[in-house]
Amino acid sequence: MNTKIIFIKACILLLLFSSCGSKSNKRAVDAADLDKVMQEDAANAPAGPTRSTLSSDDLMQLSRCEDISCIQLFMKERSKDFFYTKKGEYTSLNRGMVMDSSGKEFVMPFSTVYFSSEPQATWRIAQTVHKKDLSDLLMNEFMQKGFVLVDSFRYYATEAQCYQFTSPQFPRTALFYSPTYKPWHLKGLYMKPSWLGYVFEVHYE
């Protein structure tokens, strides 16, 4: 009789202990410690991308590439900031708010890099920047390298006015800059952008 009572008591205790001991509940955070936990979590998170666009040096170096493997090797070293989206395209891992012409805000990658995989192509590398501040920064970099405006024309690839810049320091390099609402060469993440994109195309001849 005693054994039976002990067994029933043990069962009840087991039930009570297991009822109080939920694994999920044990992993709960004190509301007062939420700040600390979130900071700790952020510190342990893998390092994020550090930049949003390729620099002027990067673009000029890429424009000298003669084949696709040269570009792939170059971009592999920048895989923390850019990921391979699809053939001929890399996208910035750094994302943020971009405002369109109607004032609506979108979250999107800050830039997209396009490259030509054809050895005989007339161009090699182009970058679309989705934010004016970043575009101005990149343009300033080119200006500091002595790039000046030499020509402007209507460009079929962007269906907009394109500005050609050259620099005496880089004799065989030309920058084609074009603010546009059209996807460059009908490529890109967004086929019908409602915001102004800034295309930087660099040619090496």
Partner: protein, 151 residues
């Protein structure tokens, strides 16, 4: 004879789970805290904080919801009571399901998010339980991370 032992084991486990559920419900009633078990990881109180404010919501076993939002720096507090529901895919497009819906008492939608992930019950990886919500499962989508809060 072996079949009998298997049968006894099945009965014992079922009885244990049944009694545990009964006791869990009683504990929940007495303490007012949700006892989360396998397959019920969504239940409980979740919160997230940013420089703009603090958001906390509690998903109860009976399908009701308690939502609280504090806006900084004035500490303006909004408290809402309502219901919640979790919906799995109704179409082929898995990018938008499963979703967590919160409703006010009058039936208006309070929030509607894709459930990106929730810490599994037996997880040994996470130190803290978290729930990640976003608009959809596409790569280029902002996500909101909530932590399980002690009740």
């Amino acid at each position: 004879m072996r079949l009998l032992y298997i049968f006894i084991l099945v009965v014992a486990v079922s009885l244990f789970l049944f009694l545990r559920t009964c006791v869990d419900k009683k504990v929940e009633k007495v303490t007012g805290k949700d006892v989360v078990r396998e397959g019920e990881e969504m239940l409980g109180t979740w919160a997230s904080k940013s420089s703009n404010g603090y958001v906390q919501f509690r998903l109860k076993r009976d399908g009701t919801l308690e939502y609280m939002q504090i806006q900084f720096p004035a500490n303006d507090t909004i408290k809402v009571k309502g219901d919640f529901s979790i919906t799995s895919s109704t179409s082929r497009n898995m990018n938008y399901f499963p979703r967590l819906y919160g409703f006010r008492e009058n039936g208006d939608t309070l929030f509607n998010y894709y459930i990106r992930s929730v810490t599994p019950y037996n997880s040994t990886v996470s130190k803290y339980d978290n729930l990640i919500l976003s608009d959809n499962s596409l790569f280029d989508t902002v996500e909101y991370k909530f932590y399980r809060i002690k009740q």
